[in-house]
Amino acid sequence: MSRVAPEIEDGYLVAAALAGRPEAFGTLVERYDRAVFHLCLRTMRDVEEARDCTQEAFFKAFRSLKTFKPGAKFSTWIFSIAYHACCDRLGRRKRFSREELPDKADLAPGPAAVAEQNDEARALRAAIAALPEKYRTVITLYHLQGRQYEEIAQVLGLPMGTVKTHLFRAKELLRKALSNE
């Protein structure tokens, strides 16, 4: 599933931006800022940090636009930059705590989700937020990019088999969390 316009247009916009028309990059920002922010928010679980990571991702993309390979998917590229920006931040702040490891993840819905049990979307969001970081990110990319496992693997820098395993486990955890309601 793709929530954005065809990739050929993205490639054209990148070429136009490289040819000295920075406003073409503006169109790419308009096209992807929400999805990138969504990925950052899911990864960081903090609005301000997600905002900073989103800005950082687009800034880095703009500065290194020449390294974008023609024919590649812009969404995969910008998601990858954003994900790495999040990882850097998480690493710096030592956010990867033991509580985020899969075996110790708290799968029970939080207080907000309990109060909103009738709202399926909110319950699902709360269940996703309760997932361990690696599953949360893979399920978010699955949400953003659909069944494009190879691209999810590219963004995360993981083998495709690992991505499929993470996705399978993430869905199992989600189903478990949602069936406990």
């Binding site: 800022d33 929400r34 999805a35 922010f37 800005q55 687009f58 800034f59 979307a121 949400h143």
Partner: protein, 123 residues
């Protein structure tokens, strides 16, 4: 909510709306990228070519003048005229006025001078 099969969960996942970005995020990205001063090139490609051609011509003319043995006298004469002109007080006054105007414009810009607000008056 029951998600007994994976397709049901997929559908629910894909139906989730994306998080709403904070207000001003897009504007700040634009300021850092598209509208950043470094993004705008000082000269276009054709302008750069024109400047290059003019510099090459100027260099060639200078070289040709200096290399010409008969030019030495002319250059000496021109320098003498320039020195005499600079020694003239009237020229110096006008040069001073020009320099002060340039400094004033670079510091104050073209905005009209504004008197500071007096206490008690709305700004």
């Amino acid at each position: 909510m029951k998600h007994d099969d994976i397709d049901d969960l997929d559908r629910a996942l894909f139906a989730l709306p994306l998080a709403e970005p904070p207000a001003g995020l897009r504007a700040s990205i634009f300021r850092a990228t598209v509208y950043a001063p470094s993004a705008a090139q000082a000269f276009g490609r054709l302008e750069m070519i024109a400047i290059g051609v003019m510099l090459a011509l100027a260099s060639w003319l200078t070289l040709a003048t200096v290399m010409n043995p008969r030019a030495a006298g002319s250059i000496e004469g021109a320098l003498a005229i320039l020195v005499r002109g600079l020694a003239d007080p009237q020229t110096l006054v006008w040069l001073g006025v020009g320099a002060l105007t340039a400094v004033w414009l670079s510091v104050a810009g073209f905005a009209p001078f504004r008197f500071p607000n007096r206490p008690g008056r709305a700004s």
